[in-house]
């Protein structure tokens, strides 16, 4: 049974069981690879996407539960990749290997959309679900802060 899905404004019809995690639909069926698999149990944040503007872990979000909500992945965050968070990321030279960074950016983008001028602690709390094994946290923190203050 095909499931209708809207990703980055485009409509897709995917033929998978409804309990299939959104992550694998995005990656293996829709074919967008910016959203990463890191743990499969919502503890690392590499798979973070926006569903109706909320940051969610797509690895534990069943595609059947998404309905007609708007799914936005890193590819759809900004047409030229110039969302303030993306720019802040580049200004601070955040990434090392870069693998977790799309999830970090999606998490940060949802956060700064609702929290202006965040405190240090708010930033750490908001980003604490996203693991970076290279250890770019110092720069992630700085970049989120910069994006959150509109600097």
């Amino acid at each position: 049974m095909a499931i209708a899905l809207k990703v980055n404004g485009a409509r897709h019809s995917v033929d998978v069981p409804p309990d299939t995690p959104l992550l694998w639909v995005i990656r293996d069926v829709v074919g967008l690879h910016g959203t990463k698999y890191g743990c499969g149990i919502a503890v690392c944040g590499a798979c973070t996407v926006h569903v109706d503007g909320q940051a969610v872990r797509s690895c534990v979000t069943a595609v059947g539960d998404v309905g007609d909500a708007e799914v936005v992945t890193i590819e759809g965050l900004h047409p030229t990749g110039d969302h303030p968070v993306q720019r802040a990321w580049r200004d601070a030279n955040v990434p090392q290997c870069g693998f977790c960074q799309t999830g970090q950016i999606m998490q940060a983008a949802a956060f700064v959309a609702t929290t202006r001028n965040p405190t240090d602690q708010q930033v750490s709390e908001a980003m604490s679900g996203n693991i970076c094994r290279c250890g770019c946290y110092q720069r992630i923190h700085a970049a989120v802060k910069a994006a959150g203050t509109g600097a």
Binding site: D28, Y37, R90, F99
Partner: protein, 776 residues
């Protein structure tokens, strides 16, 4: 140089590992290329070539501009990056060196990734913190040759002597006439010019560097990474590709007794279930074997695997138990081991010392857990094998694939994607071999094998577990007169040969033998230990346990002597000198990270200097409020000197935080200070992960941790966010050392020394999270 000691002298975790330790030695020595670093005497003293271990690595180094550079008529300069990118920035850094030397404008440079082809590009093993230190010279030579070829082509076109023209920022200028030719205009003619021989190369003066030493070049992939366009191994997609996951034996050396695929095949999307033959250890990087589920997407494969019914034969490691093994290692460490360094008479000095201090340290197994778990995509059919994978050793992978598939090397191609972290795990290509096996079995269908996080943490090549026992004798004045360090740990060589039991030279040379202290009676011993899991190298390797013990113990001795730990550490290091390893009692020739000792001696002056810088940075000696403490540790590894000072705060609830870290780095010429900083910041976080949580324990032969919930790593809210990196400035005349790994070893001991300063509690058994740090 080519005597039987070659294997132990070489750089060669990698040589040993991937060529097979015996074949490797001869292969490596026979394959040093013609275009090698010939010492250049005379004119260019400031940039005179120096010897490195690059020539000792398989396929050495290549400095031919025709291999690394091409120029389009529109002026685009394309540079090949032949090392893998896993986050250190090396694959940007080396082309940056080349571009600087050839006066190319970085904004007009494009990079392409080389496939695994060492005869063409030189060694590609991206590990051992070797990329910059082994390839800065060949890359400068490539760049200088290319620049001179561009100048020669322009001079010819203008009919003027070559000495009158100069390459400046992507064009060649004839000053006298004001004429200019862009690199694009010279694309064809410059490439037709002969490559100048090494002795005619004019390297740039340091004052003319645009990028080297500046830190002004961001990672090449930065924009793609932030927009989701960067392609990692996980992101490879081929037409008709199938998706596979593998149920591997839960115990190393185990195998499938029987399996029933029926339920798995009922899972929607599952297409095929097939067995992958395993191999009993030592099996190098051969797959563990097991049962593969092939499906229309990854999730279907995962669900199919859950539905498999498999009966395992656990094999000889079925009773591996970390607690029992620790007890066994402790017992071994309490008895004499094989002496690997013997200076003076430590036994006698311990017997007659006024005070003897003893401590035993424990390091559990740890898993690399890179954010991208192992993954590979293969197409094997029609007499060919092509693989796309995040691998640190693309040529070694190609060799292993050739052997595994029975195809000749020419029929095997390895395409290197970006690596979502590596840390040594992706030097071991079992996942690529699995993908190749499955594609072959499926008649050439493209297959992507994905390791789940659980697979990654439970079935990897673990960092070894160890017990380090140290005894020191102090005289009545509190001066250390004797030092004895016994190390007991399964060796990495157990992955390559049966029952080696003792640590190899490269392991002994990472923080055991090379203790840099001026103590008259000093003895290092290695006790036997057998491996019961696959042991592999993890970022900074044996330095992790050795240095945790050595640098914690130095601080413990300071306490015993009633002295300030930093002053005491400096006193232990003693006067500035280059350690004479023979006089210092090294039993076998010191490994020295595979590089010549004359180029990179152990320089205690540089070691002491970074201690001072880190201490100064953190404000050593300042009054600390209750619950706060400072700790310091230092180590030379991968030919770089790094001191780490940590400020720790322990709350009333025992919660630990690290408000500040100061890391002082002397890595010789700091080629890309911006990436050096990022590596040090990252090392502090990874150091935090290992010290706080790092443990994979085994019970009944099975790893007890499975995902980031049970194998925890540092998160942003528990990590140091104020890491201050102090880079010792040097010119090109001080050979570049490693950067990717050496930041890690001093962190855990510095942290534990700080915890002691804050609480009086000494953590000797890692991880820290097992200890109650609340005030007693």
């Amino acid at each position: 140089m080519v005597a039987t000691t070659t294997t132990t002298m070489r750089p060669l975790i990698e040589n040993v590992s991937r060529r097979g330790f015996l074949a490797g030695a001869s292969a490596a020595t026979g394959l040093v290329l013609a275009l090698q670093l010939v010492p250049l005497r005379g004119a260019l003293a400031a940039a005179a070539p120096y010897a490195t271990g690059a020539t000792e690595m398989p396929h050495g180094a290549v400095n031919d501009p025709h291999v690394f550079v091409s120029i389009d008529p529109d002026g685009t300069v394309t540079i090949v990056r032949h090392r893998s990118e896993m986050g250190t920035g090396a694959s940007t850094g080396l082309p940056m060196v080349l571009a600087d030397e050839m006066e190319a404008d970085w904004s007009r440079v494009r990079l392409v990734q080389a496939p695994g082809d060492e005869p063409r590009y030189g060694n590609q093993d991206t590990d051992g913190s070797r990329s910059m230190r082994h390839f800065i010279q060949p890359m400068r030579q490539c760049g200088a040759a290319m620049r001179q070829m561009l100048e020669a082509a322009a001079a010819k076109q203008w009919g003027v002597p070559a000495g009158e023209v100069e390459a400046v920022n992507h064009e060649v200028v004839h000053k006298a006439s004001g004429r200019k030719l862009g690199y694009g205009d010279l694309a064809t003619t410059a490439m037709a010019e002969p490559v100048p021989p090494l002795e005619q190369l004019r390297l740039k003066e340091a004052a003319a560097f645009r990028y080297m030493g500046k830190g002004n070049v961001p990672m090449y992939d930065l924009h793609d990474i932030t927009t989701g366009k960067a392609v990692y191994g996980q992101d490879v997609a081929l037409p008709g590709m199938r998706f596979a996951v593998v149920a591997r034996p839960p115990v190393v050396g185990g195998k499938v007794k029987s399996f029933d695929p029926a339920e798995a095949l009922k899972v929607p999307g599952v297409e095929k279930v097939l067995e992958i033959p395993g191999s009993a250890p030592p099996a190098k990087f051969a797959p563990l074997g097991g049962v593969a589920v092939v499906a229309a997407n990854t999730w279907a494969a995962i669900k199919g695997r859950e539905a498999l019914k498999i009966e395992w034969d656990d094999g000889p490691n079925a009773s591996y138990d970390s607690a029992a093994f620790k007890a066994q290692m402790l017992e071994t460490a309490r008895k004499p081991g094989k002496v690997v360094r013997n200076e003076g008479d430590a036994e006698a000095a311990l017997a007659s010392a006024a005070k003897v201090v003893t401590a035993e340290y424990y390091q559990p197994h740890i898993a690399h857990a890179p954010m991208e778990p192992p993954v590979a995509t293969a197409v094997v059919g029609g007499g060919k094998c092509e693989v796309w994978a995040p691998v640190q050793s693309p040529y070694g992978t190609r060799e292993d694939l050739a052997k595994f598939t029975g195809l000749p090397m020419e029929a095997v191609r390895v395409n290197v994607t970006l690596l979502g972290g590596g840390f040594g795990r992706k030097s071991k290509c079992d996942y690529a071999l699995e993908a190749a096996f499955l594609s072959k079995e499926l008649g050439g269908t493209p297959v992507k094998v994905t390791w789940t996080r659980e697979d990654d943490i439970q079935s990897g090549f673990f960092h070894t577990t160890s017990v380090e026992r140290l005894d020191a004798g102090l005289d009545a004045g509190g001066k250390v007169v004797a030092w004895r360090h016994r190390s007991v740990a399964p060796t990495i060589m157990s992955t390559f040969m049966p029952d080696p039991k003792l640590q190899a030279a490269f392991e002994l040379g990472m923080g055991l033998q090379d203790v840099p202290f001026a103590i008259p009676n000093l003895r290092c011993e290695n006790g036997e230990a057998q491996a019961h899991a696959r042991i592999g190298w993890f970022r900074s390797v044996s330095n992790i346990p050795h240095v945790f013990a050595m640098q914690s113990f130095a601080s413990e001795l300071a306490h015993a002597a009633g002295r300030d730990p930093k002053d005491f550490l400096l006193e232990l290091i003693g006067p500035a000198r280059k350690i004479d390893t023979k006089a210092a009692g090294f039993v076998d020739e010191y490994w020295n990270y595979g590089d010549p000792y004359e180029t990179y001696p152990i320089d205690t002056g540089r070691l002491a200097h970074v201690v001072g810088l880190a201490a100064e940075g953190i404000g050593w000696g300042r009054e600390m409020p209750k619950g706060r403490g400072l700790g310091i540790a230092v180590h030379r590894s991968f030919l770089a000197y790094i001191a780490t000072a940590v400020e720790v705060e322990i709350g009333a609830d025992g919660r630990l935080s690290v408000p500040r870290v100061d890391t002082a780095v002397d890595c010789g010429f700091p080629v890309n200070p911006e990436r050096i900083r990022s590596q040090m910041e990252g090392a502090a976080v990874m150091g935090m992960s290992l010290a706080m949580f790092g443990e994979v324990s085994f019970k009944n032969g099975r790893a007890e941790q499975a995902n980031y919930d049970t194998y925890e790593v540092a998160r942003i809210d528990g990590s140091p966010l104020e890491v201050h990196t102090h880079i010792v400035p040097h010119g090109y005349d001080v050979p570049a050392g490693g950067v990717g790994e050496p930041g890690l070893p001093p962190f855990a001991p510095a942290l534990c020394n700080a915890i002691f300063a804050a609480t009086g509690k000494r953590v000797r058994d890692l991880p820290i999270s097992k200890h109650d740090l609340r005030a007693a």
